[in-house]
């Protein structure tokens, strides 16, 4: 039991929680902006997801949603605006715990009202907003800290939230690999070629990967290898940045070639949960070096002095 307690209650850098919180807020805002033009279609009474059908399909299940009580178009718009404010507050760390509760309620509510339009990234937003709600808030990087600093804001916090977030990412990749491995198209390496000419591609009329199938094969196998190895690579400090590079590379590829940009953005917060103090210090040092090298760059005299060159 001691080991279990140490696993969940061992020390963690509060900045890792702050990074998850901030990136989750940004990803959820992007998702909200993506949903905004369709809000009446998916969530209002006269839209395409009928409430009576929803009740019949989900009978006996404990799904809750604010949208059940607010079905009008004006009400839906008001809830969207409220959710956007809560997401900005969560990202900034302003009334963080209240904002996290509202953000969790938002994700639960739209998901439980609009089942037929949901995708994998909605599950990521739902599960991580629950975990952000029950985790230390990462106060060290927040507006709350600037307004009312506490001596222990930068002190270590328990790791339990990060552990559950890490587990969630592990389950996500494990399950997707588990389901893809038996598929004959994944095995033959043809997935990327077919995907490139499908309705989900940004360039569905380009035959490049169809004509160069060997590139599709390499790309398909690399995608599968990345998904299978990312959780393991992220776990160890020595291989963490390789795991990050593989994950971000994979999701950057998906985001740029498929009409699934929101999905790629929603995959960023889970990775933040693996960062440790040394990683964050290294990233900050990298950022500072980059900033100072930009600042040292020679600038035209006229601009530097504020005088006109002529």
């Amino acid at each position: 039991m001691k080991r279990v307690i140490a696993f969940f209650w061992g020390p963690a850098d509060p900045r890792a929680y702050a990074l998850v919180r901030i990136t989750l807020a940004v990803a959820a805002l992007v998702n909200l902006a993506d949903l905004w033009p369709h809000r009446y279609e998916y969530l209002a009474l006269g839209g395409m997801v009928p409430l009576d059908g929803l009740r019949r399909a989900t009978a006996g299940k404990l799904y809750g949603s604010i949208f059940y009580a607010v079905p009008s178009e004006a009400g839906v718009t008001a809830l969207f605006i409220g959710a956007a404010v809560a997401l900005v507050a969560l990202g900034l760390g302003w009334w963080t715990r209240v904002a996290a509760a509202l953000v969790f309620a938002w994700h639960l509510s739209y998901c439980h009202r609009a089942f037929p339009v949901l995708h994998g990234w909605d599950a990521i937003l739902r599960s991580y907003s629950l975990l952000v709600l029950v985790s230390p808030s990462g106060r060290v990087w927040s507006l709350d800290h600037i307004r009312r600093p506490r001596p222990d804001d930068a002190a270590d916090v328990p790791a339990y939230g990060l552990r559950m977030m890490q587990w969630q990412l592990f389950v996500l990749y494990f399950m997707t690999v588990w389901l893809k491995v038996p598929d004959s198209f994944w095995r033959s390496g043809q997935v990327l070629a077919y995907f490139s000419v499908s309705q989900y591609s940004r360039t569905p009329n380009s035959l490049f990967l169809v004509r160069h199938e060997w590139m599709s094969t390499i790309g398909t196998y690399l995608s599968m290898a990345a998904e299978a190895s990312i959780p393991w690579l992220l776990w160890s400090r020595r291989t963490r940045f390789l795991g990050m590079a593989a994950g971000f590379g994979l999701h950057f590829m998906i985001g740029t070639t498929a009409r699934l940009g929101v999905f790629s953005i929603c995959m960023i917060p889970p990775y933040m949960a693996y960062l440790e103090r040394g990683d964050i210090d290294w990233l900050i040092a990298l950022y500072r070096r980059a900033r100072s090298s930009i600042a040292r760059r020679p600038v035209p005299r006229a601009s530097a002095s504020g005088e006109r060159a002529d």
Partner: protein, 176 residues
């Protein structure tokens, strides 16, 4: 407020068990129905529902089937006059090719789990038709116009990516 020192370890142990339970709930739901371990899944069902933890990671577990996808409504009046209407509600607007909306129609038309939604969707369509045309009684069919992808070797042969395919739902009758 500070907890008595004697309470800290038992409380941490109890919380750790809850965390383990949450982690078990995250993965138990993914155990296949046919598995002998499926019995581990039901105890977590209500927890998954209440917390929104339910999840499936089956995106693109095989190839997509369509090169292009469009959907509209075929409306037949009592006198036999056939017209087309947009499938998006509210407003019977033209399909805008949003990924989520594509998913909605594919689920409504092919996934039995989503069958209860289709009748309600048609009810809303009939309500819009009645409001616009001043009467009900129309027969409504959801019409998918797809481009089904051909095999890679066929595409390479002549450069033709897909074949057109129309799918019609069953016919629904709007109340008068």
């Amino acid at each position: 407020m500070t907890l008595p020192a004697a309470w800290v370890t038992p409380l941490k142990a109890f919380a750790s068990l809850l965390f383990l339970g949450h982690m078990a709930a995250t993965c138990a739901q993914a155990i296949p129905d046919q598995s002998a371990l499926r019995v581990l899944s039901p105890p977590f069902r209500h927890y998954d529902e209440l917390t929104g933890l339910w999840q499936t990671w089956d995106m693109f577990t095989t190839i997509p089937y369509f090169h292009d996808y469009d959907v509209d409504l075929q409306v037949t009046e009592a006198d036999g006059n056939v017209t087309r209407a947009g499938a998006l509600l509210p407003g019977l607007r033209t399909f805008d090719r949003a990924v989520r909306t594509e998913t909605l129609f594919m689920r409504y038309l092919y996934d039995p789990e989503f069958a209860p939604y289709l009748n309600g969707y048609i009810d809303n369509v009939c309500g819009e038709l009645r409001a616009r045309r001043g009467h009900g009684g129309q027969k409504v069919v959801v019409r998918e116009s797809c481009q089904r992808m051909r095999w890679l070797n066929q595409i390479r042969e002549d450069g033709n990516i897909a074949n057109p395919e129309d799918h019609l739902s069953k016919t629904f009758t709007c109340g008068g």
